[in-house]
């Protein structure tokens, strides 16, 4: 990504493109150009500053035990946010991610504990249900051409109701489950900081999806579809197929999220995921992905999820009321969206 120095092209006497970039002389507009090209920069800066500030406010913040706690608090929402990122990149939105995750976790637990199936079959059943939920959302978006916001607002309620009906509102305790289901809650230590397998699983998912988005044709098509659907169609991309595959991939990721959730809370509870729908969107938006689609990175989302985790944890260590945490997250969202709007003005 080297930028050649501004010179007139000797062959044609014309100024080349690089010069046009450097013509934006004010530091502010140059900053905007850089942020436009690397949308994960601003969340990275915010995260570093937040860690420094909270570390100075309270020395316990940087304790290994506390850092470990933050990663665990981030694991589930961070996983859901991967699915959310894929969907938002296509200029969609999924209000039902938390509900699907909870439904899947109840299926995993019930199939194993009540129906007595082997735990691996329980996990597969949870995966199948999450895929079916993704397929339903994808079908309604691609075949009936309904807006994803409306579709998932509807299916959110359907999935919540199904979860409560299926589980009779009862929690399945982790102690009753086979070890495989709570494996995501087991810990290992790196340099004195304990991490859970769930955190590791989340990170692996980030690496895999980052690879797919940046290195495969499918990844490019996801961006192209979110950027301009009609242009993508005319370029020869099957828009419906890309959208459907995104919703299915999201379903699979949510099933993994369900497994991580069981390990994290050492239980499967039908009332677990109500905040997670919006929290996952928050992580994506703070991470610099545009709600208009086609722009953003998966690493930005991880940063966004970490920022939310760090703010909540840091503010509560500083002794602030939980309502102020919510207040701070709200301010962050509005700031992130404003920054996105400002960055997008680069497009003339």
């Amino acid at each position: 990504m080297t930028q050649p120095t501004p010179t007139a092209n000797p062959a044609t006497g014309q100024h080349d493109l690089a010069e046009e970039f450097l013509d934006r002389t004010t530091p502010l507009s140059r900053l905007r150009g850089v942020m436009h090209r690397y949308p994960a920069i601003s969340p990275a800066v915010v995260l570093v500053i937040a860690i420094i500030v909270f570390g100075m406010l309270n020395e316990r913040f940087l304790n290994p035990a506390n850092l470990s706690l933050i990663t665990q608090q981030v694991a589930v929402v961070g996983t859901l946010a991967i699915a959310q990122t894929l969907i938002i990149l296509t200029a969609g939105i999924d209000l039902s991610v938390g509900a699907v995750m909870v439904l899947s976790s109840m299926v995993i637990a019930q199939f194993t504990v009540q129906n007595g199936l082997p735990p691996i079959m329980g996990l597969i059943a949870g995966l199948v249900v999450a895929l079916a939920a993704g397929a339903l959302n994808g079908f309604l978006v691609t075949r009936l051409r309904l807006p994803p916001f409306i579709v998932t607002l509807g299916t959110l309620n359907v999935f919540v109701a199904l979860t409560l009906l299926y589980s009779n509102g009862a929690t399945v305790r982790g102690g009753d489950m086979p070890d495989l289901l709570t494996w995501t809650g087991t810990t290992f230590s790196v340099g004195g900081v304990n991490f859970t397998m769930g955190v590791l699983l989340m990170l692996v998912l980030y690496v895999v999806i980052a690879f797919i988005l940046s290195q495969t044709a499918w990844g490019r098509h996801v961006y192209a579809v979110g950027d301009d659907k009609e242009a993508a169609r005319l370029a020869g991309i099957s828009v419906s197929r890309v959208l459907m595959s995104v919703y299915l991939a999201a379903g699979a990721i949510l099933a993994i999220g369900a497994w991580i959730q069981i390990g994290r809370s050492n239980a499967a509870s039908p009332n677990a995921g109500t905040d997670l729908n919006l929290d996952s969107i928050t992580a994506v938006v703070i991470g610099g992905t545009s709600l208009f689609g086609g722009r953003g990175t998966i690493w930005g989302t991880l940063l966004g999820a970490l920022i939310v985790g760090v703010f909540r944890n840091g503010l509560s260590l500083a002794g602030l009321d939980v309502l102020w945490q919510t207040f701070a997250v709200g301010v962050l969202i509005v700031l992130a969206v404003s920054v996105d709007q400002w960055i997008r003005k680069v497009r003339k």
């Binding site: 990504m1 050649p4 092209n9 062959a11 044609t12 014309q14 080349d16 493109l17 690089a18 046009e20 970039f21 090209r37 690879f211 290195q215 495969t216 044709a217 499918w218 490019r220 098509h221 961006y223 192209a224 950027d227 301009d228 009609e230 242009a231 993508a232 169609r233 005319l234 370029a235 020869g236 991309i237 099957s238 086609g294 722009r295 680069v346 497009r347």
Partner: protein, 267 residues
């Protein structure tokens, strides 16, 4: 500038030749709006067929139906004498037909090289490509550079720039380069010089001639009469959703063509 060799000098195509692409009585309606009202067209090997007409005459609709971007309600399309049905743009791509649409159909957030290869990315060799499905970014950049310099487009040197950072003319150059790179049978250009400067317009006209010299017929939609009369072998005049006449630059003057186009005169 390349010299056109004498054998393909402008003029009416030899009558013995079979058309490559034909459309018979295409009808396309949008609700109550009739976009195309029984339009027929023939495209012969090695010719440039211009389509002219007022705004809303149905020029874009016609080429969209020919290239799979829209499906005609009625009518028949043949390629090399065989009936074809293009349901999607990729069907036309597979048949070797490439199109620059009036809206350009580029993805703003993707870079120039990615746009050139959008929908038909090159894969890495070996396991990285077959198992991990990795795209060959380097190879695509190299070939994109090659295509652009072959076209003589010197204002676009950095193929890693996102298309949204390009000027309107540069975007058009990207779309034209994509069509020229992949068009193996027919190239269709819907107002490809609308946003271009004088020098770039001449390059596109030269490209049209080069394609014709390679034996690839071109359908060119343009409002620029001097351009049309410079490169076209035949001119299809579209008026109110119908084909008003098909003329040649030899048989009619520009004034005649405009008169037919506006309905001031019958062909």
């Amino acid at each position: 500038m390349t010299l056109i060799d004498g054998s393909t000098a402008a003029g009416a195509p030899a009558p013995v030749r079979e058309p490559i692409l034909t459309a018979k009585k295409l009808v396309k309606t949008y609700g109550r709006v009739v976009g195309l009202d029984g339009v027929s067209l023939e495209l012969y090997p090695g010719e440039v067929l211009a389509i002219i007409g007022d705004n809303g005459a149905g020029k874009s609709t016609l080429i969209k139906c020919l290239t799979g971007a829209e499906v005609a309600d009625e009518g028949e399309i043949t390629l090399d004498g065989k009936p074809v049905q293009f349901k999607r743009p990729q069907d036309a791509h597979a048949a070797g037909i490439e199109t620059v649409y009036q809206t350009l159909a580029v993805s703003p957030a993707l870079d120039v090289a990615s746009n050139l290869f959008l929908g038909r990315e090159l894969r890495r060799a070996g396991l990285l490509g077959s198992v991990f499905r990795m795209v060959d970014k380097k190879g695509m950049r190299k070939r994109a550079k090659q295509e652009l310099s072959d076209l003589g487009i010197s204002t676009l040197q950095d193929v890693t720039v996102a298309v949204e950072n390009l000027s309107g003319g540069q975007r058009q150059a990207v779309a034209v380069a994509r069509a020229a790179a992949f068009g193996s049978k027919v190239v269709v250009l819907d107002e490809p010089t609308a946003a271009l400067g004088v020098r770039e317009s001449n390059q596109v006209l030269q490209l049209v001639k080069n394609l014709r010299d390679r034996g690839i017929p071109v359908i060119l939609i343009s409002h620029n009469m001097p351009h049309v009369f410079e490169v076209a072998d035949r001119i299809h005049i579209q008026r109110l959703g119908k084909c008003a006449a098909t003329i040649t630059p030899q048989s009619h003057s520009m004034t005649d063509a405009v008169a037919i186009m506006t309905g001031a005169r019958k062909a």
